[in-house]
């Protein structure tokens, strides 16, 4: 049986994690924003395959950066 490829687990895909409700609230508090001001990501995005997110959730993305080592990004999940 061939192993199923999970794109989100690939080396080149930055790490995506779902933010807990509390973290999400803190984030909104920190930047004084609502979901509307956040960058978006589609619910069907391959990187979110194994994450079990729903619309309105916030995803935290940790990327490798040549200048700062690691950079943290957030995206709000939207439909289609």
């Amino acid at each position: 049986m061939p192993k199923k490829l999970i794109i989100g687990k690939h080396d080149l895909i930055p790490k995506h994690t779902k933010l807990s409700e509390k973290d999400k609230k803190d984030l909104f508090e920190k930047y004084k924003i609502s979901l509307k001001e956040l960058p978006k990501i589609y619910k069907g995005d391959p990187a979110l395959q194994s994450l079990n997110v729903k619309v309105g959730d916030v995803v935290k993305i940790v990327r490798n950066s040549p200048t700062s080592g690691e950079s943290i990004y957030y995206r709000g999940v939207v439909n289609a």
Binding site: Y31, E37, P39, S68, I72
Partner: protein, 859 residues
């Protein structure tokens, strides 16, 4: 000066509503009904009810408007209207009407969404519109209706729905049968006001049926003025021509309908009217042939007036022209300061600066007025406190001189030290527009210090530049504080100085600090005085001084620096004295000068620019004093070297031969993913490049030392070792698209070669150098690659320009907020930390923050 009204807000704009003109509204705002296509009668007087009807506005000077009573220029013109014989579609609303037709019931005109869902969906549509705009909303409605599967049956009146299609540009078909604009209009009328709201249309300002024209407003004559040619003939505006067509066809349609003409003729005329009205709005509709003049040139109708680069917005509103500016050719003058610009006297006599007369400067300003506009420095105008401008001429001069008193303005010629903004297109940079101080000079070019060429990307092969002189104190202060050359020293791209020594400035300092010359103390003092240094305490008291001592004289006394020169040797400056190493482009050059960055950090922009200026001048004066000439003999090689190079070439040729041989015997091992031939080509290319590089090394080793050519490459002033190798030894492989030259004749590149010749020479390898000269075929190959790269640059420039324009437009209002996030104008986050690391590059040193040093310094 006009009255100051800034404090009084009479009416504040709260909101703007965009709508569609209703037929009723058109009639109400009209001052004339247009019925005849004729323009003028026999006497040349505008016909009543014609397109140039005087009720549409005055165009004759001296006449008063019949409608508003104001004179020419004050009267904005007035609209007229024509009643269309049959309704006609409006091309710009066709998509909306199409959408409405498909989303509403053909019988009762209700939206094809059941009652119970309408509220919820409307809310959803509103959200879509907020996020992505009206078009997205309409698309969403359409999608929602398809999803509901109610397209076949109206949920209100149960009528069966037919499929409506749009046959571009303006014809609607229902089940292959044509829907006339009359039918379309009746359907639009049936749509209820509540349903309009679902579509995002406010029925008060936009009723769907208004998108089908029954009445056409005629724009006032003021927006389509006729020109009287020299021959006395009148030439009408494009819009007038188009309107004439419309009125003519409309009249004919009326007549034919009244006469009871057959349906086909009426339909034909109707279509023609549709065509004319469509092209009146937009003469570039994809499916329609554009309406043309008799000469064949397309008419410029309403859309073309607004759209694109030559349109009203980009040409007239975004692209306003300015006064108090000048443009001419530029040329270099290294004796100018870095932040100066040489302005021709001719320009200085034309461009003025307003200066307010006070008790204290009156005598001073009177001198300018007295000299008048012909004698420099004089004045061209005086402005009275009430805003009246008076030209100073020989006749008026005496009288104006009498009149002058505090409160007046004198527009005097620009003089040395005045502030100007200097610019070279394309302005891709903020450094493309910098503020300079004016220096009035003879001759007719703008002069600038060659060291500031880099930020402007200018050279002197015929480049022209623009100069603007700010006219108010505020503008001058702003330009000086924010745009002065020294404030732009550190590039926000890489955090190093963009301005540095260039050309002779670098090679001169190299000569000076490389212990190549011996000079007496007197000579050194001479040299330093000529660059403006008057403190010689750093020169030793001995009879002879070193170049490093001389160079040290321009450095501040407490300057410390440790770095590396271009060749990797350490450079050490201690207490303002150059102790070790040479100065070359690695420390002095723009874009890499780490020494300049350190100077800037320690002493600030103003001092840095002065030091840099002195270093630059010192370099130039040194080259001047000790001579600097390049000769052909600089690239002469000793016999041993020539033989060595020949040996390298011969072995390379032999190896290529072997490869070809193996290829022909099919003995070659192929690279993965490549064919046998491709493998061979790659291997040959590799071999030949290796041969060229090796011969380059030989050239560097054997080329005569101490020549100007070598000095230039070593100091980084100009050229690199490869250039030298190309002159002395071997030009190398000419490549097109990363491959050896292969096209031309069948199976060969030129007719002087045998077919299927794979040898280096037959595929563009140039064995000899420029000095020994190229063979005809070599010259030809070089011509090929030369053309290719010329073509490439010619094609790439406009492409990258457009790319840049799109980038600039997309990012123009992004802003770093106080919480370090990058946000757009609606406060949406683009980046959570500016540039991922939150660093201001212009405050760094080459993109790096030297934490170690900061710790050292705070200790």
């Amino acid at each position: 000066m006009s009255e100051y009204t800034g404090d009084y807000v009479y009416k504040r704009v709260e909101s703007i509503v965009f709508g569609v003109l209703s037929p009723k509204m058109i009639k109400q705002m009209s001052s004339a009904k247009i019925v005849t296509p004729e323009l003028y009668d026999k006497e040349g007087y505008p016909v009543d009810g014609g397109l140039m009807d005087i009720r549409l506005g005055v165009i004759d000077p001296g006449l008063k408007c019949r409608i508003c009573g104001s004179k020419l220029k004050e009267c904005p013109g007035h609209f007229g209207y024509i009643e269309l014989a049959r309704p006609v579609m409006h091309i710009n609303f066709i998509e909306i009407v199409y959408n409405l037709l498909r989303c509403t019931c053909r019988d009762c005109g209700r939206v094809l969404i059941p009652k119970n869902k309408i509220d919820k969906l409307t809310q959803k549509f509103n959200e879509v519109e907020n996020e992505m705009g009206q078009e997205a909303r309409r698309k969403a409605i359409r999608e929602e209706i398809t999803k509901l599967k109610t397209i076949n049956k109206c949920p209100y009146c149960k009528a069966r729905q037919q499929k409506v299609t749009l046959e571009k540009p303006t014809t609607f078909l229902e089940n292959e049968k044509r829907l006339s604009p009359i039918e379309v209009r009746t359907r639009m009328e049936k749509i209820t006001d509540e349903d309009c709201l679902v579509f995002g249309l406010n029925p008060k300002s936009v009723r769907p049926e208004w998108m089908v024209l029954t009445i056409l407003p005629i724009p006032p004559v003021t927006m389509r003025p006729s020109i009287t040619l020299e021959s006395g003939e009148r030439s009408e505006d494009d819009l007038t021509h188009k309107l004439g067509d419309i009125v003519r066809i409309n009249q004919r349609l009326f007549e034919n309908i009244n006469a009871g003409a057959p349906e086909i003729i009426i339909e034909d005329l109707w279509d023609l009217l549709q065509y004319h009205i469509t092209t009146f709005f937009d003469n570039a509709v994809a499916q329609l042939p554009p309406a043309r003049h008799r000469s064949g040139q397309p008419l410029k109708t309403i859309s073309e007036r607004i759209k694109s680069k030559e349109g009203r917005i980009r040409h007239n509103l975004a692209g306003k022209r300015t006064n108090f500016s000048a443009r001419t050719v530029i040329s270099p003058d290294p004796m100018l300061k870095l932040n100066e610009v040489g302005v021709p006297k001719e320009v200085a006599e034309k461009i003025t600066v307003p200066e307010r007369v006070t008790e204290w400067n009156m005598a001073y300003l009177k001198e300018f007025v007295e000299r008048g506009h012909k004698k420099y420095p004089g004045a061209n105008y005086i402005v009275r406190p009430d805003g009246k401008k008076k030209k100073i001429t020989d006749e008026t001069r005496e009288q104006l001189l009498e009149e002058l008193q505090p409160g007046y303005l004198v527009e005097r010629h620009v003089m040395d030290g005045d502030i100007a903004i200097f610019n070279r297109q394309p302005s891709l940079h903020r450094m493309s527009m910098m503020c300079h101080r004016i220096k009035v000079l003879p001759y007719k070019t703008f002069r600038l210090n060659p060291a500031v060429c880099a930020p402007y990307n200018a050279d002197f092969d015929g480049d022209e530049m623009n100069l603007h002189v700010p006219q108010t104190e505020e503008a001058r202060a702003e330009a000086e504080i924010l745009m002065m050359v020294q404030t732009q020293l550190i590039s926000p791209r890489y955090g190093l100085s963009v301005i540095g020594c260039v050309q002779d400035g670098v090679s001169g300092n190299f000569i000076l600090t490389n212990n190549m010359i011996k000079m007496t103390r007197n000579e050194a003092v001479d040299l330093l005085s000529s660059v403006g240094v008057d403190n010689f305490t750093k020169l030793s008291r001995k009879e002879f001084v070193t170049g490093a001592d001389v160079f040290s004289c321009v450095l501040p006394d407490d300057f410390n620096f440790v770095g590396k020169s271009k060749s990797g040797q350490p450079v050490k400056i201690e207490n303002g004295k150059l102790i070790e190493g040479v100065m070359d482009s690695a420390n002095l050059g723009g874009g890499k000068g780490l020494m300049l960055r350190t100077l800037h950090k320690n002493y600030g922009a103003d001092d840095t620019i002065q030091i840099l200026e002195k270093i630059f001048k010192l370099g130039i004066k040194t080259s001047l004093k000790y001579g600097f000439s390049v000769a052909i003999s600089d690239s002469d090689l000793p016999k041993a070297a020539r033989e060595k190079i020949n040996g390298i070439m011969d072995t390379a040729y032999q190896e290529v031969e072997n490869l070809i041989d193996r290829f022909q015997r099919n003995d070659l091992e192929t690279f993965p993913g490549k064919s046998l031939k491709e493998t061979l080509e790659l291997k040959i290319l590799e071999l030949l490049n290796k041969a060229r590089n090796e011969s380059g090394l030989v050239v560097n080793e054997f080329a005569p030392k101490g020549t100007a050519t070598l000095l230039m490459t070593n100091s980084g002033a100009r050229g690199n070792p490869l250039n030298l190798a190309q002159m002395a030894a071997c030009v190398g492989q000419q490549a097109m698209r990363g491959k050896r030259i292969e096209k031309g004749y069948q199976g060969r590149t030129l007719s002087c070669f045998k077919k299927d010749d794979l040898s280096p020479a037959a595929h563009g390898f140039i064995k000899k150098g420029f000095k020994s000269g190229l063979k005809p075929h070599e010259f030809f190959f070089m011509g090929m690659t030369g053309r290719d790269s010329l073509m490439d640059t010619a094609l790439r420039t406009p492409k990258s320009g457009y790319l840049y324009r799109r980038l600039a437009n997309a990012m123009q209002d992004l802003k770093v907020e106080y919480d370090n996030t990058v946000r757009d104008s609606s406060k949406k986050i683009i980046q959570f930390d500016y540039g991922e690391d939150g660093m201001d590059v212009s405050k760094s040193e080459g993109g790096i923050v030297n934490v170690q040093r900061i710790i050292e310094e705070t200790k």
